[in-house]
Structures are given as C-alpha cells and as structure tokens.
C-alpha cells in the first residue's frame, strides 16, 4: 500500500533512494529464468569469451530492472513509474566468485504538475553502466 506519509517528497536535487547491490552469477541465472533471456553470454564463460567479452556479463535488462527497483521500493507502487528508459553504456562483468557491486542513486531532476523526472545513476567501480537512465513518476 502506498503510504503517503512515508512517500518521499520530490524536490529537484534530492536523492530519494540509494543502494548497493551485489550481482552474482546466481543473480544472472535467476533473472534469466524470470525474464526468459537465456543468452548464454550471461552464464557461460567459454561462450562469453568466444563473443569477445572479458567474462560473463549481466543482462542489460537486469541492470535496468535493479536500478528501477531501488526507486519503486522507495515509491511503494511500481505503477507510479509511467515512463522509464536508458542507454546501456558499459557491460557489467560478473566475476564467478566476487560478483559485481552495482551502485544505484535516484535523484529528482524536475517536478512538473503531475509528474517528477528521476535520474538513476548506475555504476560499477565508479564507472557508469547506464546513461540517460530516467524515470517519469506520477505524483
């Protein structure tokens, strides 16, 4: 249930949600099953390296989904996200033992009559993996 008293206020410049998520090979396999994206570059090192990648990489849609999850948890209602888009800038390489640390920061950019735009910064080791990741939230 959306509890308005705990819902974040929307003021441009405010960080309304932030989280560091450990992405492991298990995260990738779980997402493959949940989404139906069974491209083996997301779970097989030999196929990833044959494709010219430095290792198994996370599904771009997983990174996109994890990033918006941080915002929807703060909102309490996923359907308040009426628009969400991003560009996939860099692969998230997922080490078999260490995984990858994905850092997400949701910052209010602009507030209009009935909507707010929220920028989602997603980075691994300080490098942005998504660019122009922006969600439009119904107020």
């Amino acid at each position: 249930m959306t509890n308005l008293s705990t819902a974040p206020a929307f003021t441009p410049g405010d960080v309304i949600a932030e989280s560091t998520i450990t992405v492991t090979r298990e995260t990738l396999v779980r997402y493959a099953g949940a989404s139906g994206d069974f491209n083996p570059i997301h779970y097989r090192d030999d196929i990833a390296s044959a494709a010219g990648l430095p290792g198994v990489i996370a599904q771009g849609m997983l990174t996109m989904g994890l990033a918006i999850g941080v915002l929807t948890d703060a909102l309490g209602d996923p359907s308040r996200v009426v628009e969400y888009g991003c560009r996939f800038a860099r692969h998230v390489i997922v080490d078999p033992s260490l995984g990858a640390q994905l850092h997400i920061v949701a910052t209010v950019k602009e507030v209009r009559d009935a909507t707010a735009t929220v920028a989602l910064a997603a980075s691994v080791d300080g490098a942005q993996v998504l660019v122009k990741a922006v969600a439009t939230v119904a107020l």
């Binding site: 249930m1 771009g60 948890d73 996923p78």
Partner: protein, 147 residues
Amino acid sequence: MINPAIAGKVYPPTTPYLVGREKIREFATATGTQTALCTDVEAARGAGYADVVAPPTFAVIISQKAETALLFDPEADIDFEHLVHGEQKFSHHKAIVAGDELSATLTVTSVKALGGNSMLTTTTEIVDDAGEPVSTAVATFVIRGVA
C-alpha cells in the same frame, strides 16, 4: 549485417501471454524489488489493483517475444552474434497485473548505418485482451560491423 529494406515492417501480434501471479513474484525477486504490491495479493487489492502489480521492466517479457520474430526473420538477415542491446524505453499506459492477457505488435521503426555498425530501432505496442494499450516498448539494437 541487416537488410535496410525491413524499415517499416510490422510483425503479426504475438500469441496472448497470460501474466501469472508467481511470474510477477519471480520477476520482482530477480530484480531485487521488495515492494509489497508486487508480491502480496492483499496489499495489491487494498491499493485498488485486481492482483499483484508487475515491476516497471516486466513488460520486456512480452516485448522480447515480439522481437524473436524479427531476430529470426530471414528477410531481416540479422547477424545476432554481433547484436547488442543499445537502448530501451517503456511508456506505461496502465499497470500490468496478474491475470492480464497481453499481446505485442512490433514495428521496425528505423534501420540506420552508423560508422561500420547498423542501428535498428523497434517500437512494440503491448495491448490487453480488450485491445486497450498497456505499454509501448522502444528498443534500439546495435549490430556491430565485422571488419
């Protein structure tokens, strides 16, 4: 790489996909969402939804089904070993909840050459069983040129 003549091509609607409650829960878990509306039926009903609510990127399950027809279309001649997902955007017209029956119609909106690469943009309209618009998914794929 890709046949530029497929720009404008519209693929037939996908077989209706029945959105399952456990699928929404599974997808929410896989994308790290803790929101009760995605997992708890009573919470979702209390907030006015018929059943649990899908996370914002859940629509990719349905749009991906429409993309499969394009990726395996011999006329498109896509070299999918060199295909990379470049951009993705969803515009949601209404919430997706468990019990919805959704189908997707994909249009190839553009095919462009960019350096040695090709850029393919698709627009997929997802509708419910009454034909009402649910989501619009716009995807850009880059097909890397092989030197």
